[in-house]
Assembly symmetry: C2
Homo-oligomer: 328 residues x 2
Protein backbone atom coordinates (compact mmCIF):
# COMPACT_ATOMS: atom_id res chain seq x y z
CA UNK A 1 0.00 0.00 0.00
CA UNK A 2 1.26 3.46 -0.80
CA UNK A 3 2.37 5.42 2.23
CA UNK A 4 0.63 8.56 3.37
CA UNK A 5 2.64 11.62 2.25
CA UNK A 6 3.08 12.59 5.89
CA UNK A 7 4.67 9.24 6.73
CA UNK A 8 7.02 9.09 3.74
CA UNK A 9 10.65 8.78 4.88
CA UNK A 10 13.89 9.83 3.26
CA UNK A 11 14.72 6.16 2.75
CA UNK A 12 11.44 5.60 0.87
CA UNK A 13 12.32 8.35 -1.61
CA UNK A 14 16.05 7.68 -2.03
CA UNK A 15 18.65 10.35 -2.57
CA UNK A 16 17.60 11.31 -6.11
CA UNK A 17 13.93 11.46 -5.08
CA UNK A 18 14.71 13.67 -2.11
CA UNK A 19 16.89 15.93 -4.26
CA UNK A 20 14.01 16.37 -6.71
CA UNK A 21 11.76 17.45 -3.82
CA UNK A 22 14.32 19.98 -2.59
CA UNK A 23 15.30 21.42 -5.97
CA UNK A 24 12.41 23.95 -6.02
CA UNK A 25 14.00 25.61 -2.97
CA UNK A 26 17.04 26.62 -5.05
CA UNK A 27 17.04 29.09 -7.96
CA UNK A 28 17.19 27.18 -11.26
CA UNK A 29 20.08 29.31 -12.55
CA UNK A 30 22.55 28.12 -9.91
CA UNK A 31 21.90 24.39 -9.70
CA UNK A 32 23.11 21.64 -11.99
CA UNK A 33 26.87 22.26 -11.90
CA UNK A 34 29.65 21.15 -9.56
CA UNK A 35 29.46 24.57 -7.87
CA UNK A 36 27.36 27.73 -8.04
CA UNK A 37 28.61 30.80 -9.88
CA UNK A 38 27.84 34.03 -8.01
CA UNK A 39 28.78 37.54 -9.13
CA UNK A 40 30.67 39.80 -6.70
CA UNK A 41 30.69 43.59 -7.02
CA UNK A 42 34.14 44.77 -8.15
CA UNK A 43 36.20 46.06 -5.23
CA UNK A 44 34.23 44.16 -2.60
CA UNK A 45 35.72 41.34 -0.57
CA UNK A 46 33.90 38.13 0.21
CA UNK A 47 32.96 37.29 3.80
CA UNK A 48 32.60 33.59 4.61
CA UNK A 49 31.19 31.95 7.72
CA UNK A 50 29.84 28.57 8.78
CA UNK A 51 27.63 27.12 11.54
CA UNK A 52 26.66 23.56 12.31
CA UNK A 53 23.45 22.60 14.16
CA UNK A 54 23.02 19.11 15.57
CA UNK A 55 19.78 17.42 16.68
CA UNK A 56 19.75 16.98 20.44
CA UNK A 57 22.46 19.63 20.94
CA UNK A 58 21.20 22.80 19.25
CA UNK A 59 17.57 21.84 18.81
CA UNK A 60 15.03 19.16 19.65
CA UNK A 61 11.51 18.35 18.56
CA UNK A 62 10.37 19.51 21.98
CA UNK A 63 11.34 23.14 21.44
CA UNK A 64 12.01 23.52 17.73
CA UNK A 65 9.77 22.41 14.86
CA UNK A 66 11.68 21.75 11.61
CA UNK A 67 10.66 25.12 10.12
CA UNK A 68 12.34 26.82 13.09
CA UNK A 69 15.42 24.61 12.87
CA UNK A 70 15.87 25.80 9.29
CA UNK A 71 15.10 29.41 10.15
CA UNK A 72 17.54 29.44 13.08
CA UNK A 73 20.32 27.75 11.09
CA UNK A 74 19.99 30.36 8.34
CA UNK A 75 19.64 33.22 10.85
CA UNK A 76 22.81 32.23 12.74
CA UNK A 77 24.82 32.42 9.54
CA UNK A 78 23.24 35.65 8.26
CA UNK A 79 23.87 37.17 11.68
CA UNK A 80 27.59 36.46 11.26
CA UNK A 81 27.49 38.29 7.94
CA UNK A 82 25.64 41.25 9.53
CA UNK A 83 28.29 41.28 12.27
CA UNK A 84 30.94 41.76 9.58
CA UNK A 85 28.93 44.50 7.86
CA UNK A 86 28.42 42.23 4.84
CA UNK A 87 25.47 41.89 2.47
CA UNK A 88 24.56 38.22 1.89
CA UNK A 89 25.19 36.60 -1.52
CA UNK A 90 24.08 33.03 -0.79
CA UNK A 91 24.34 29.99 1.45
CA UNK A 92 25.15 26.31 1.04
CA UNK A 93 23.36 23.61 3.03
CA UNK A 94 25.07 20.34 3.97
CA UNK A 95 22.44 18.05 5.44
CA UNK A 96 23.03 14.67 7.14
CA UNK A 97 19.95 12.60 7.99
CA UNK A 98 18.92 9.20 9.26
CA UNK A 99 17.03 7.31 6.55
CA UNK A 100 13.97 7.19 8.79
CA UNK A 101 13.61 11.00 8.79
CA UNK A 102 10.24 12.06 7.41
CA UNK A 103 10.36 13.82 4.06
CA UNK A 104 7.90 16.39 5.39
CA UNK A 105 10.40 17.20 8.17
CA UNK A 106 13.08 17.92 5.56
CA UNK A 107 10.71 20.00 3.43
CA UNK A 108 9.71 22.09 6.44
CA UNK A 109 13.39 22.56 7.29
CA UNK A 110 14.00 23.96 3.79
CA UNK A 111 10.85 26.12 4.05
CA UNK A 112 12.27 27.62 7.24
CA UNK A 113 15.66 28.25 5.67
CA UNK A 114 14.23 29.94 2.59
CA UNK A 115 11.69 31.96 4.62
CA UNK A 116 14.53 33.40 6.70
CA UNK A 117 16.61 34.18 3.59
CA UNK A 118 13.81 35.73 1.55
CA UNK A 119 13.75 39.31 2.96
CA UNK A 120 17.42 39.58 2.03
CA UNK A 121 17.06 38.30 -1.56
CA UNK A 122 19.39 35.47 -0.67
CA UNK A 123 19.21 31.91 -1.96
CA UNK A 124 20.45 28.41 -1.29
CA UNK A 125 23.09 28.09 -4.00
CA UNK A 126 24.56 24.71 -3.15
CA UNK A 127 24.12 21.68 -1.00
CA UNK A 128 24.90 18.12 -0.18
CA UNK A 129 22.70 15.38 1.27
CA UNK A 130 23.86 12.29 3.06
CA UNK A 131 22.94 9.56 5.46
CA UNK A 132 23.94 9.77 9.12
CA UNK A 133 22.79 8.59 12.53
CA UNK A 134 22.15 12.20 13.67
CA UNK A 135 20.44 15.08 11.88
CA UNK A 136 23.16 17.66 11.24
CA UNK A 137 22.57 20.94 9.41
CA UNK A 138 25.85 22.52 8.26
CA UNK A 139 25.37 25.91 6.63
CA UNK A 140 28.05 28.10 5.09
CA UNK A 141 27.09 31.65 4.20
CA UNK A 142 28.94 34.17 2.12
CA UNK A 143 28.42 37.85 1.55
CA UNK A 144 30.27 40.89 0.27
CA UNK A 145 31.57 44.06 1.85
CA UNK A 146 33.95 46.88 0.94
CA UNK A 147 37.11 45.91 2.86
CA UNK A 148 37.29 49.41 4.39
CA UNK A 149 33.76 48.99 5.79
CA UNK A 150 34.18 45.50 7.23
CA UNK A 151 33.33 45.34 10.95
CA UNK A 152 36.12 43.61 12.88
CA UNK A 153 36.58 42.75 16.56
CA UNK A 154 40.06 44.13 17.16
CA UNK A 155 39.58 47.78 16.21
CA UNK A 156 37.77 49.23 19.26
CA UNK A 157 39.44 52.23 20.94
CA UNK A 158 39.35 53.32 24.61
CA UNK A 159 36.37 55.56 25.27
CA UNK A 160 34.18 54.02 22.56
CA UNK A 161 30.47 53.75 23.25
CA UNK A 162 29.32 50.11 23.56
CA UNK A 163 26.03 49.81 21.70
CA UNK A 164 23.56 46.93 21.55
CA UNK A 165 21.03 46.79 18.71
CA UNK A 166 18.19 45.21 20.68
CA UNK A 167 17.02 43.32 23.75
CA UNK A 168 18.97 40.45 25.28
CA UNK A 169 17.71 37.44 27.21
CA UNK A 170 14.55 37.01 25.12
CA UNK A 171 15.70 33.95 23.16
CA UNK A 172 16.77 32.12 26.32
CA UNK A 173 13.46 33.03 28.00
CA UNK A 174 11.57 31.64 25.00
CA UNK A 175 13.55 28.41 25.13
CA UNK A 176 12.92 28.00 28.87
CA UNK A 177 9.17 28.53 28.38
CA UNK A 178 9.18 25.83 25.68
CA UNK A 179 11.05 23.45 27.98
CA UNK A 180 8.92 24.24 31.07
CA UNK A 181 5.48 25.46 29.95
CA UNK A 182 4.44 26.22 33.56
CA UNK A 183 7.14 28.88 33.64
CA UNK A 184 5.19 31.08 31.22
CA UNK A 185 1.92 30.98 33.18
CA UNK A 186 2.52 34.34 34.83
CA UNK A 187 2.92 36.03 31.44
CA UNK A 188 0.39 37.55 29.07
CA UNK A 189 -0.16 35.48 25.92
CA UNK A 190 1.43 38.31 23.90
CA UNK A 191 4.62 38.32 25.97
CA UNK A 192 4.79 34.53 25.93
CA UNK A 193 4.46 34.37 22.14
CA UNK A 194 6.96 37.18 21.67
CA UNK A 195 9.62 35.35 23.69
CA UNK A 196 8.98 32.06 21.88
CA UNK A 197 9.18 33.89 18.55
CA UNK A 198 12.51 35.41 19.58
CA UNK A 199 13.79 31.89 20.19
CA UNK A 200 12.30 30.16 17.16
CA UNK A 201 12.61 32.89 14.54
CA UNK A 202 15.37 35.30 15.49
CA UNK A 203 15.98 38.06 12.93
CA UNK A 204 19.55 38.55 11.72
CA UNK A 205 20.27 42.30 11.98
CA UNK A 206 21.03 42.84 8.30
CA UNK A 207 18.53 45.71 8.38
CA UNK A 208 21.20 47.63 10.26
CA UNK A 209 23.70 47.84 7.42
CA UNK A 210 21.99 50.80 5.77
CA UNK A 211 21.99 52.70 9.10
CA UNK A 212 25.69 52.34 9.92
CA UNK A 213 27.70 55.58 10.05
CA UNK A 214 30.89 55.83 7.98
CA UNK A 215 33.12 55.99 11.09
CA UNK A 216 35.33 53.25 12.56
CA UNK A 217 33.06 50.52 14.01
CA UNK A 218 34.22 47.43 15.86
CA UNK A 219 31.72 44.70 16.64
CA UNK A 220 30.36 41.17 16.58
CA UNK A 221 27.05 39.44 17.11
CA UNK A 222 25.76 38.23 20.47
CA UNK A 223 25.01 34.64 19.43
CA UNK A 224 26.99 33.21 22.37
CA UNK A 225 25.58 35.74 24.82
CA UNK A 226 25.98 39.44 25.53
CA UNK A 227 28.73 38.97 28.14
CA UNK A 228 30.67 36.73 25.77
CA UNK A 229 30.42 39.30 22.95
CA UNK A 230 31.70 42.16 25.12
CA UNK A 231 34.50 40.05 26.57
CA UNK A 232 35.55 38.85 23.10
CA UNK A 233 35.52 42.39 21.69
CA UNK A 234 37.55 43.70 24.64
CA UNK A 235 40.06 40.88 24.44
CA UNK A 236 40.51 41.31 20.67
CA UNK A 237 41.00 45.08 21.05
CA UNK A 238 43.17 44.88 24.21
CA UNK A 239 40.65 46.87 26.24
CA UNK A 240 38.28 46.62 29.18
CA UNK A 241 34.77 48.00 29.63
CA UNK A 242 32.45 49.67 32.09
CA UNK A 243 28.88 48.53 31.60
CA UNK A 244 25.75 50.04 33.13
CA UNK A 245 23.34 47.17 33.80
CA UNK A 246 20.11 49.24 33.96
CA UNK A 247 20.89 50.53 30.45
CA UNK A 248 20.80 47.06 28.88
CA UNK A 249 17.48 46.60 27.03
CA UNK A 250 15.60 43.49 28.15
CA UNK A 251 12.07 42.24 27.42
CA UNK A 252 9.67 44.47 29.41
CA UNK A 253 8.15 41.44 31.20
CA UNK A 254 11.48 40.51 32.84
CA UNK A 255 11.03 43.06 35.65
CA UNK A 256 7.85 41.58 37.11
CA UNK A 257 8.23 38.00 35.90
CA UNK A 258 11.78 37.09 36.91
CA UNK A 259 13.95 37.36 40.01
CA UNK A 260 16.75 39.88 39.63
CA UNK A 261 19.36 37.11 39.54
CA UNK A 262 17.47 35.17 36.84
CA UNK A 263 16.98 38.26 34.68
CA UNK A 264 20.67 39.13 34.99
CA UNK A 265 21.73 35.60 34.08
CA UNK A 266 19.56 35.32 30.97
CA UNK A 267 20.38 38.86 29.81
CA UNK A 268 24.14 38.41 30.05
CA UNK A 269 24.57 34.70 29.36
CA UNK A 270 21.36 33.51 27.64
CA UNK A 271 22.73 33.73 24.10
CA UNK A 272 21.18 33.35 20.63
CA UNK A 273 19.54 36.78 20.54
CA UNK A 274 21.58 37.45 17.37
CA UNK A 275 21.78 41.18 18.06
CA UNK A 276 24.96 43.11 17.29
CA UNK A 277 27.30 44.62 19.87
CA UNK A 278 29.18 47.58 18.41
CA UNK A 279 31.99 49.82 19.68
CA UNK A 280 32.17 53.25 18.06
CA UNK A 281 32.75 56.93 18.90
CA UNK A 282 30.10 58.24 21.33
CA UNK A 283 28.55 60.84 19.05
CA UNK A 284 28.06 58.40 16.17
CA UNK A 285 26.77 55.86 18.69
CA UNK A 286 24.08 58.27 19.88
CA UNK A 287 22.92 59.01 16.32
CA UNK A 288 22.80 55.30 15.54
CA UNK A 289 20.63 54.59 18.62
CA UNK A 290 18.21 57.31 17.47
CA UNK A 291 18.08 55.93 13.95
CA UNK A 292 17.53 52.32 15.16
CA UNK A 293 14.83 53.10 17.71
CA UNK A 294 14.11 52.31 21.33
CA UNK A 295 15.47 48.77 21.66
CA UNK A 296 18.94 49.94 20.70
CA UNK A 297 21.00 51.46 23.50
CA UNK A 298 24.44 52.51 24.62
CA UNK A 299 25.20 50.25 27.56
CA UNK A 300 28.72 51.33 28.50
CA UNK A 301 32.16 52.50 27.47
CA UNK A 302 35.43 50.78 26.59
CA UNK A 303 38.35 51.46 28.95
CA UNK A 304 42.13 51.14 29.02
CA UNK A 305 41.84 48.90 32.11
CA UNK A 306 41.48 45.32 30.91
CA UNK A 307 38.64 44.33 33.26
CA UNK A 308 35.00 44.23 32.10
CA UNK A 309 33.00 45.68 34.99
CA UNK A 310 29.23 45.65 35.27
CA UNK A 311 27.81 48.42 37.45
CA UNK A 312 24.34 47.99 38.93
CA UNK A 313 22.59 50.71 40.96
CA UNK A 314 24.38 49.71 44.17
CA UNK A 315 27.14 47.25 43.23
CA UNK A 316 29.75 46.35 40.64
CA UNK A 317 30.76 42.88 39.36
CA UNK A 318 33.60 41.80 37.11
CA UNK A 319 32.48 39.66 34.16
CA UNK A 320 34.51 36.65 33.10
CA UNK A 321 34.29 34.16 30.25
CA UNK A 322 33.71 31.09 32.41
CA UNK A 323 29.93 30.97 31.86
CA UNK A 324 29.89 30.60 28.06
CA UNK A 325 28.18 27.74 26.22
CA UNK A 326 30.54 24.75 26.05
CA UNK A 327 29.82 22.24 23.29
CA UNK A 328 31.71 19.28 24.77
Amino acid sequence: MAKNQEELTVQDLGEQGLLRRLLPFCPAAVVGDDGALVAVTAGQSVVVTTDVLVDGVHFSDRTTPPFSVGWRAAAANLSDLAAMGATPLGITVGLSLPGATQVSWVEQLYQGITACLKPYNTAIVGGDLCRSSAVTVAIAAFGQVLPSQAIRRHTAQPGDAILVTGVHGASKAGLEILLNPTLGQGLSEGDRQLLIQKHQRPKPRLDLLSHLPACRISGMDSSDGLADAILQLCRASGLGAELHYPSIPVPSCFKTWLSEAQALDWTLYGGEDFELVLCLPLEEGRSLVQSLGENAAIIGTTTRQMAVVLANDDSTTELTLNKGFQHF
Copy 2:
Protein backbone atom coordinates in the same frame (compact mmCIF):
# COMPACT_ATOMS: atom_id res chain seq x y z
CA MET B 1 46.81 10.87 36.88
CA ALA B 2 47.29 12.93 33.74
CA LYS B 3 46.20 11.18 30.55
CA ASN B 4 48.65 10.19 27.88
CA GLN B 5 48.46 12.73 24.99
CA GLU B 6 47.41 9.92 22.66
CA GLU B 7 44.42 9.06 24.85
CA LEU B 8 43.20 12.62 25.38
CA THR B 9 39.61 13.03 24.17
CA VAL B 10 37.69 16.03 22.89
CA GLN B 11 35.62 15.94 26.07
CA ASP B 12 38.79 16.15 28.23
CA LEU B 13 39.88 19.35 26.45
CA GLY B 14 36.50 21.06 26.10
CA GLU B 15 35.50 23.23 23.15
CA GLN B 16 37.84 26.14 23.93
CA GLY B 17 40.77 23.78 24.51
CA LEU B 18 40.13 21.99 21.22
CA LEU B 19 39.78 25.30 19.37
CA ARG B 20 43.17 26.38 20.72
CA ARG B 21 44.71 23.17 19.35
CA LEU B 22 43.15 23.72 15.92
CA LEU B 23 43.89 27.45 15.61
CA PRO B 24 47.42 26.88 14.24
CA PHE B 25 45.82 25.22 11.18
CA CYS B 26 44.21 28.53 10.16
CA PRO B 27 46.07 31.66 9.04
CA ALA B 28 46.16 34.22 11.88
CA ALA B 29 44.89 37.02 9.63
CA VAL B 30 41.50 35.42 8.98
CA VAL B 31 40.48 34.10 12.38
CA GLY B 32 38.99 35.99 15.30
CA ASP B 33 35.98 37.58 13.62
CA ASP B 34 32.42 36.39 12.93
CA GLY B 35 33.49 35.63 9.37
CA ALA B 36 36.62 35.65 7.24
CA LEU B 37 37.31 38.48 4.82
CA VAL B 38 38.75 37.26 1.51
CA ALA B 39 39.69 39.46 -1.46
CA VAL B 40 38.26 38.60 -4.89
CA THR B 41 39.87 39.77 -8.13
CA ALA B 42 37.71 42.45 -9.78
CA GLY B 43 35.56 40.99 -12.56
CA GLN B 44 35.75 37.43 -11.28
CA SER B 45 32.72 35.57 -9.96
CA VAL B 46 32.77 33.41 -6.88
CA VAL B 47 32.19 29.65 -7.16
CA VAL B 48 30.76 27.94 -4.09
CA THR B 49 30.40 24.25 -3.36
CA THR B 50 29.89 21.98 -0.36
CA ASP B 51 30.42 18.30 0.54
CA VAL B 52 29.57 16.42 3.70
CA LEU B 53 31.41 13.25 4.81
CA VAL B 54 29.96 11.02 7.51
CA ASP B 55 31.76 8.34 9.53
CA GLY B 56 30.51 4.87 8.56
CA VAL B 57 29.09 6.15 5.25
CA HIS B 58 31.97 7.86 3.43
CA PHE B 59 34.84 6.56 5.51
CA SER B 60 35.71 4.15 8.30
CA ASP B 61 38.76 3.52 10.46
CA ARG B 62 39.24 0.29 8.53
CA THR B 63 40.04 2.01 5.25
CA THR B 64 40.69 5.64 6.05
CA PRO B 65 43.01 7.01 8.75
CA PRO B 66 42.01 10.52 9.95
CA PHE B 67 44.71 12.20 7.82
CA SER B 68 43.09 10.64 4.74
CA VAL B 69 39.57 11.58 5.87
CA GLY B 70 40.71 15.20 5.99
CA TRP B 71 42.61 14.96 2.72
CA ARG B 72 39.66 13.36 0.90
CA ALA B 73 37.14 15.86 2.30
CA ALA B 74 39.29 18.78 1.10
CA ALA B 75 40.02 17.08 -2.24
CA ALA B 76 36.33 16.45 -2.98
CA ASN B 77 35.59 20.16 -2.59
CA LEU B 78 38.64 21.40 -4.50
CA SER B 79 37.73 18.96 -7.27
CA ASP B 80 34.34 20.67 -7.60
CA LEU B 81 36.13 24.02 -7.97
CA ALA B 82 38.48 22.54 -10.59
CA ALA B 83 35.41 21.18 -12.41
CA MET B 84 34.09 24.76 -12.64
CA GLY B 85 37.45 26.10 -13.82
CA ALA B 86 37.82 28.05 -10.57
CA THR B 87 40.94 28.86 -8.55
CA PRO B 88 40.39 28.15 -4.84
CA LEU B 89 40.18 31.04 -2.34
CA GLY B 90 39.49 29.13 0.87
CA ILE B 91 37.37 26.55 2.66
CA THR B 92 35.30 26.39 5.83
CA VAL B 93 35.17 23.28 8.03
CA GLY B 94 32.08 22.39 10.07
CA LEU B 95 33.00 19.49 12.32
CA SER B 96 30.61 17.45 14.51
CA LEU B 97 32.19 14.97 16.92
CA PRO B 98 31.31 12.63 19.77
CA GLY B 99 32.98 13.81 23.00
CA ALA B 100 34.93 10.54 23.17
CA THR B 101 36.79 11.29 19.92
CA GLN B 102 40.55 11.37 20.46
CA VAL B 103 42.13 14.80 20.11
CA SER B 104 44.93 13.22 18.06
CA TRP B 105 42.29 11.97 15.59
CA VAL B 106 41.00 15.55 15.13
CA GLU B 107 44.52 16.95 14.76
CA GLN B 108 45.37 14.36 12.10
CA LEU B 109 42.12 15.21 10.30
CA TYR B 110 43.18 18.87 10.17
CA GLN B 111 46.70 17.88 9.10
CA GLY B 112 45.17 15.96 6.19
CA ILE B 113 42.94 18.89 5.21
CA THR B 114 45.77 21.44 5.26
CA ALA B 115 48.20 19.06 3.48
CA CYS B 116 45.71 18.70 0.62
CA LEU B 117 45.13 22.48 0.46
CA LYS B 118 48.79 23.52 0.66
CA PRO B 119 49.89 23.08 -2.99
CA TYR B 120 47.08 25.45 -3.98
CA ASN B 121 47.92 28.19 -1.43
CA THR B 122 44.49 27.68 0.05
CA ALA B 123 43.59 27.92 3.72
CA ILE B 124 40.89 27.01 6.20
CA VAL B 125 39.27 30.41 6.71
CA GLY B 126 36.36 29.49 8.95
CA GLY B 127 34.89 26.70 10.97
CA ASP B 128 32.53 25.47 13.60
CA LEU B 129 32.90 22.66 16.12
CA CYS B 130 30.11 20.84 17.86
CA ARG B 131 29.10 17.71 19.66
CA SER B 132 27.25 14.93 17.85
CA SER B 133 26.78 11.18 17.97
CA ALA B 134 28.46 10.75 14.57
CA VAL B 135 31.64 12.29 13.17
CA THR B 136 30.52 14.57 10.32
CA VAL B 137 32.89 16.71 8.27
CA ALA B 138 31.04 19.43 6.34
CA ILE B 139 33.31 21.45 4.08
CA ALA B 140 32.31 24.40 1.92
CA ALA B 141 34.85 25.62 -0.61
CA PHE B 142 34.88 28.79 -2.63
CA GLY B 143 37.01 29.96 -5.49
CA GLN B 144 37.01 32.52 -8.27
CA VAL B 145 36.71 32.40 -12.04
CA LEU B 146 36.08 34.80 -14.88
CA PRO B 147 32.39 34.16 -15.67
CA SER B 148 33.23 33.70 -19.37
CA GLN B 149 35.70 30.93 -18.47
CA ALA B 150 33.51 29.01 -16.03
CA ILE B 151 33.09 25.33 -16.99
CA ARG B 152 29.41 24.33 -16.99
CA ARG B 153 27.60 21.08 -17.71
CA HIS B 154 25.01 22.27 -20.20
CA THR B 155 27.20 23.77 -22.92
CA ALA B 156 28.46 20.68 -24.77
CA GLN B 157 27.76 20.53 -28.54
CA PRO B 158 27.24 17.50 -30.79
CA GLY B 159 30.56 16.22 -32.15
CA ASP B 160 32.60 17.40 -29.15
CA ALA B 161 35.49 15.24 -28.06
CA ILE B 162 34.91 13.67 -24.64
CA LEU B 163 38.17 13.90 -22.72
CA VAL B 164 39.18 12.37 -19.40
CA THR B 165 42.12 13.84 -17.50
CA GLY B 166 43.39 10.58 -15.97
CA VAL B 167 42.76 6.93 -15.10
CA HIS B 168 39.44 5.70 -13.71
CA GLY B 169 38.75 2.78 -11.38
CA ALA B 170 41.92 3.27 -9.31
CA SER B 171 40.23 4.75 -6.22
CA LYS B 172 37.66 1.95 -6.08
CA ALA B 173 40.41 -0.65 -6.53
CA GLY B 174 42.35 0.92 -3.63
CA LEU B 175 39.26 0.84 -1.43
CA GLU B 176 38.57 -2.81 -2.24
CA ILE B 177 42.19 -3.77 -1.43
CA LEU B 178 41.85 -2.00 1.94
CA LEU B 179 38.59 -3.85 2.63
CA ASN B 180 39.88 -7.25 1.43
CA PRO B 181 43.69 -7.37 1.80
CA THR B 182 43.90 -10.80 0.13
CA LEU B 183 42.61 -9.17 -3.06
CA GLY B 184 45.88 -7.30 -3.53
CA GLN B 185 48.12 -10.36 -3.21
CA GLY B 186 48.51 -10.82 -6.95
CA LEU B 187 49.80 -7.24 -7.33
CA SER B 188 53.30 -5.81 -7.05
CA GLU B 189 53.83 -3.73 -3.90
CA GLY B 190 54.19 -0.66 -6.12
CA ASP B 191 50.83 -1.19 -7.84
CA ARG B 192 49.14 -1.97 -4.54
CA GLN B 193 50.44 1.22 -2.91
CA LEU B 194 49.56 3.30 -5.95
CA LEU B 195 45.91 2.16 -5.86
CA ILE B 196 45.65 2.74 -2.09
CA GLN B 197 47.19 6.18 -2.55
CA LYS B 198 44.62 6.96 -5.25
CA HIS B 199 41.89 6.12 -2.76
CA GLN B 200 43.32 7.80 0.32
CA ARG B 201 44.92 10.89 -1.23
CA PRO B 202 43.24 11.74 -4.52
CA LYS B 203 44.58 14.88 -6.20
CA PRO B 204 42.03 17.50 -7.24
CA ARG B 205 42.88 18.44 -10.85
CA LEU B 206 43.49 22.13 -10.21
CA ASP B 207 46.82 21.71 -12.03
CA LEU B 208 44.74 21.58 -15.21
CA LEU B 209 43.47 25.14 -15.10
CA SER B 210 46.65 26.61 -16.60
CA HIS B 211 46.48 24.10 -19.49
CA LEU B 212 42.88 24.78 -20.56
CA PRO B 213 42.42 26.21 -24.06
CA ALA B 214 40.37 29.40 -24.47
CA CYS B 215 37.60 27.57 -26.39
CA ARG B 216 34.15 26.53 -25.15
CA ILE B 217 34.57 23.72 -22.60
CA SER B 218 31.77 21.82 -20.89
CA GLY B 219 32.60 19.51 -18.02
CA MET B 220 32.35 18.17 -14.49
CA ASP B 221 34.36 15.96 -12.18
CA SER B 222 34.02 12.18 -11.98
CA SER B 223 33.51 11.97 -8.21
CA ASP B 224 30.37 9.82 -8.61
CA GLY B 225 31.92 7.68 -11.31
CA LEU B 226 32.88 8.07 -14.96
CA ALA B 227 29.56 6.77 -16.31
CA ASP B 228 27.65 9.13 -14.04
CA ALA B 229 29.71 12.13 -15.20
CA ILE B 230 29.16 11.38 -18.89
CA LEU B 231 25.45 10.75 -18.39
CA GLN B 232 25.04 13.97 -16.38
CA LEU B 233 26.91 16.03 -18.98
CA CYS B 234 24.85 14.53 -21.80
CA ARG B 235 21.58 15.07 -19.97
CA ALA B 236 22.44 18.70 -19.11
CA SER B 237 23.44 19.43 -22.70
CA GLY B 238 20.59 17.45 -24.32
CA LEU B 239 23.00 15.10 -26.09
CA GLY B 240 24.12 11.48 -26.22
CA ALA B 241 27.60 9.99 -26.59
CA GLU B 242 29.56 7.26 -28.29
CA LEU B 243 32.36 6.00 -26.06
CA HIS B 244 35.24 3.71 -27.02
CA TYR B 245 35.96 1.50 -24.04
CA PRO B 246 39.55 0.53 -24.97
CA SER B 247 40.42 4.25 -25.06
CA ILE B 248 39.53 4.80 -21.37
CA PRO B 249 42.75 4.98 -19.33
CA VAL B 250 42.79 2.50 -16.43
CA PRO B 251 45.55 1.43 -14.04
CA SER B 252 47.98 -0.76 -16.02
CA CYS B 253 47.55 -3.66 -13.57
CA PHE B 254 43.81 -4.00 -14.33
CA LYS B 255 44.43 -6.09 -17.48
CA THR B 256 46.17 -9.00 -15.76
CA TRP B 257 44.72 -8.61 -12.26
CA LEU B 258 40.98 -8.28 -12.88
CA SER B 259 38.34 -10.08 -14.90
CA GLU B 260 37.04 -8.04 -17.80
CA ALA B 261 33.68 -7.55 -16.10
CA GLN B 262 35.29 -6.38 -12.84
CA ALA B 263 37.59 -3.93 -14.63
CA LEU B 264 34.66 -2.51 -16.59
CA ASP B 265 32.56 -2.12 -13.46
CA TRP B 266 35.21 -0.28 -11.43
CA THR B 267 36.27 1.89 -14.37
CA LEU B 268 32.76 3.08 -15.17
CA TYR B 269 31.07 3.01 -11.77
CA GLY B 270 33.87 2.98 -9.14
CA GLY B 271 33.78 6.69 -8.43
CA GLU B 272 35.96 9.06 -6.40
CA ASP B 273 38.80 9.27 -8.89
CA PHE B 274 38.23 13.05 -8.94
CA GLU B 275 39.35 13.40 -12.53
CA LEU B 276 37.62 15.82 -14.88
CA VAL B 277 35.46 14.84 -17.84
CA LEU B 278 35.48 17.57 -20.49
CA CYS B 279 33.58 18.10 -23.75
CA LEU B 280 35.32 20.38 -26.24
CA PRO B 281 36.06 20.73 -29.95
CA LEU B 282 38.20 17.82 -31.21
CA GLU B 283 41.25 19.82 -32.22
CA GLU B 284 41.52 21.62 -28.88
CA GLY B 285 40.88 18.28 -27.16
CA ARG B 286 43.85 16.69 -28.95
CA SER B 287 46.18 19.55 -27.95
CA LEU B 288 44.98 19.33 -24.36
CA VAL B 289 45.69 15.56 -24.21
CA GLN B 290 49.21 16.25 -25.47
CA SER B 291 49.79 18.98 -22.93
CA LEU B 292 48.43 16.85 -20.02
CA GLY B 293 50.38 13.68 -20.86
CA GLU B 294 49.64 10.00 -21.28
CA ASN B 295 46.92 9.44 -18.68
CA ALA B 296 44.66 11.96 -20.38
CA ALA B 297 42.70 10.67 -23.36
CA ILE B 298 39.83 11.31 -25.71
CA ILE B 299 37.40 8.49 -25.03
CA GLY B 300 34.52 9.33 -27.33
CA THR B 301 32.31 11.88 -29.00
CA THR B 302 29.03 13.57 -28.15
CA THR B 303 26.10 12.82 -30.45
CA ARG B 304 22.66 14.18 -31.32
CA GLN B 305 21.14 10.81 -30.38
CA MET B 306 20.31 10.92 -26.67
CA ALA B 307 21.72 7.47 -25.81
CA VAL B 308 25.14 7.02 -24.23
CA VAL B 309 26.63 4.00 -25.98
CA LEU B 310 29.82 2.22 -24.95
CA ALA B 311 31.56 0.36 -27.78
CA ASN B 312 33.96 -2.44 -26.93
CA ASP B 313 36.00 -4.32 -29.55
CA ASP B 314 33.14 -6.66 -30.35
CA SER B 315 30.00 -5.30 -28.67
CA THR B 316 28.13 -2.16 -27.68
CA THR B 317 26.21 -1.42 -24.46
CA GLU B 318 23.95 1.47 -23.51
CA LEU B 319 24.89 3.10 -20.22
CA THR B 320 22.21 4.16 -17.74
CA LEU B 321 22.22 6.02 -14.45
CA ASN B 322 20.86 3.16 -12.34
CA LYS B 323 24.22 2.11 -10.90
CA GLY B 324 25.20 5.37 -9.18
CA PHE B 325 26.00 5.67 -5.47
CA GLN B 326 22.78 6.14 -3.47
CA HIS B 327 23.16 7.71 -0.05
CA PHE B 328 19.89 6.49 1.47
